[in-house]
């Protein structure tokens, strides 16, 4: 299983060069946002909740695995800003995440890799929108794998849902069990 995971996930390892591949306007935005570490962290963040230590009885909360494409100093500054920073674990790929419960991203396609490989949902956190319409046929994959959050409050609700309820994962597994024709 270990070998198979690393083979399957080679393509989504973090690359230090990715920022240089951004188009000019994206680089400009990057430059303007570099003063605002929280803003930068929204650029290309994947947060993955690992619910192993979560317990409603004890009140212990989950660890957060943080896959960041930001430069190291920005990523570290973001983590340092958090009071319970010990709960944040930096990762550089999606390997060995079977015990996680969901992935949170802004708009990254990495959500597909995570969701189909681990059969767990991806939450798209889009606080700049009130809603997203994914009824069109081209969004069928999203209909299967995605949950959406448009506010901090709804993000919290969606993460807690993923911790407690495995129905979305079952839906993904059921989809993968079907044939194309």
């Amino acid at each position: 299983m270990e070998k198979k995971e690393s083979e399957g996930l080679q393509g989504i390892r973090r690359s230090g060069q990715e920022r240089d591949l951004l188009p000019g306007s994206a680089k400009e935005t990057w430059r303007l946002l570099r003063f605002c570490q929280t803003a930068v962290s929204f650029w290309s963040v994947c947060l993955i909740w690992r619910p192993m230590s979560f317990s409603e009885e004890t009140g212990r909360r989950a660890d957060i695995l943080y896959l960041s494409k930001n430069p190291q100093n920005i990523t570290q500054a973001t983590i340092n800003a958090l009071e319970d920073r010990n709960r944040i674990v930096l990762i550089d790929s999606l390997q060995n995440l079977q015990d996680t419960c969901c992935l949170v991203t802004t708009t990254s396609h990495i959500a597909y890799a995570y969701a189909f490989y681990y059969q767990k949902p991806a939450i798209f956190f889009m606080p700049s929108f009130n809603s997203i319409d994914i009824d069109a046929p081209q969004f069928i994959m999203l209909q299967i794998i995605a949950l959406f959050a448009h506010s901090l409050e709804s993000l919290k609700e969606q993460v807690l849902f993923c911790m407690r309820d495995s129905s979305k994962g079952e839906e993904i597994a059921e989809f993968l069990g079907r044939s194309l024709i």
Binding site: S25, L33, F35, C36, F42, S128, F129, N130, S151
Partner: protein
């Protein structure tokens, strides 16, 4: 007519039109304002200069009438011709111009350093009270504060241009008592976000939306979102529109687009990432500002001196603690103001005197 011929015709016409506005007897000062955003930083300086000199506004965008009325005359100018055949800069060289005062946006958009005149003395007027520009091809630079001077000397250790310890007219105007208004809100005033594609707009709007949502859920006061003045007309319009739509039904949230510093009077505390607005707000009202999650940097003066006018909050918990504490920081801020800002209350006079001495060496 090809592009070169078109440009030549424009150069001749524009040169003649500007010449008509120049005085044969008085000194000619041109205030060149390629982007309308920062005109407030001039305060009443054009009016004061016009009492003695011929002061012409060279603008690229329509400006408010009460601002234009401060000048002896005004004219619309362009610096670039763009057609389907390509683009070509406009060259104008008027020896009759004695001084050109420029705002810090001209070189940023690619305007050549000797635009309008190769011989006029050039004075640069920054829009930040603290942060010195990285590029400064001008003969003179008006310094608003001691921190600006230190920053300028650090960035340009071998500079040959002269610093004028002038002060900051916009700040002086904000010190003038305005109509009494109830202090009833927290204002969030982020820096300019230049975003010209959907994803970046979404990121920026999302970031600001998170802060606004948190403020609405964790305070009882009115919350005002104060966009950068460029938000209405430039590339960030899309981002600003997203933000407005997200909170369209939120009655406690105000999108404050009032011009100038009117919002100071109603603001109890200002929150920003690292905007220089925090300094003009706090130093004029003596009420504190909070810098939310700025990346600590030795290069950014606004962040380095944040504690002199308020606080830095690294996260929402710290923000909550600061807001609930509601400390009076007025004495500390007043002390910083006295220590830092040049010519408080008389910057326009000081700058006029400096310009007079340049004109009469």
């Amino acid at each position: 007519m090809n592009l070169k011929q078109q440009v030549r015709k424009i150069e001749i016409d524009l040169t003649n039109n500007i010449k008509k506005l120049l005085s044969p007897t008085k000194k000619n000062i041109v205030i060149f304002l390629p982007i309308g955003t920062y005109y407030k930083q001039l305060g009443n300086l054009p009016k004061k200069l016009s009492q003695k000199h011929n002061v012409v506004l060279a603008k690229m965008t329509p400006m408010p009438i009460d601002f234009e009325s401060q000048f002896s005359s005004n004219i619309s100018v362009g610096w670039l011709v763009r057609t389907t055949d390509g683009e070509m800069p406009i060259h104008i060289d008027l020896k009759e111009i004695d001084i050109i005062i420029e705002m810090d946006s001209s070189h940023l958009i690619g305007i050549e350093d000797d635009f309008l005149s190769k011989t006029a003395k050039r004075i640069f007027m920054p829009h930040s009270m603290l942060q010195a520009p990285k590029v400064s091809p001008h003969d003179y630079v008006i310094a608003p504060s001691k921190i600006f001077v230190e920053c300028y000397k650090r960035i340009h250790p071998n500079h040959i241009n002269q610093l004028i310890y002038g002060g900051y007219p916009k700040f002086d105007i904000s010190l003038t008592p305005s109509l009494a208004r109830a202090i009833d809100r927290i204002t969030y005033a982020p820096t300019l976000r230049i975003v010209d594609f959907m994803f970046a707009s979404s990121v920026c709007a999302g970031y600001d939306a998170n802060i606004l949502e948190w403020l609405l859920n964790n305070t009882d006061e009115k919350i005002a979102y104060r966009p950068h003045p460029s938000a209405y007309s430039k590339e960030i319009t899309e981002m600003y529109g997203m933000l407005k739509s997200r909170f369209v039904s939120e009655s406690r949230l105000i999108f404050d687009e009032s011009p100038g510093d009117r919002f100071y009077a109603q603001t109890r505390i200002l929150i920003t990432d690292c905007s220089t607005t925090a300094y003009t707000f706090s130093l004029s009202t003596l009420r504190p500002s909070i810098f939310f999650a700025p990346l600590e940097s030795d290069d950014i003066e606004m962040v380095k001196h944040a504690h002199r006018i308020g606080y830095v909050a690294k996260n929402f918990r710290e923000l909550k603690r600061i807001l609930e504490k509601n400390e009076d920081k007025s004495q500390e801020i007043a002390a910083f103001r006295e220590e830092c800002v040049f010519n408080i209350g008389r910057s326009e006079e000081a700058i006029c005197e400096a310009i007079d001495s340049i004109l009469t060496p």
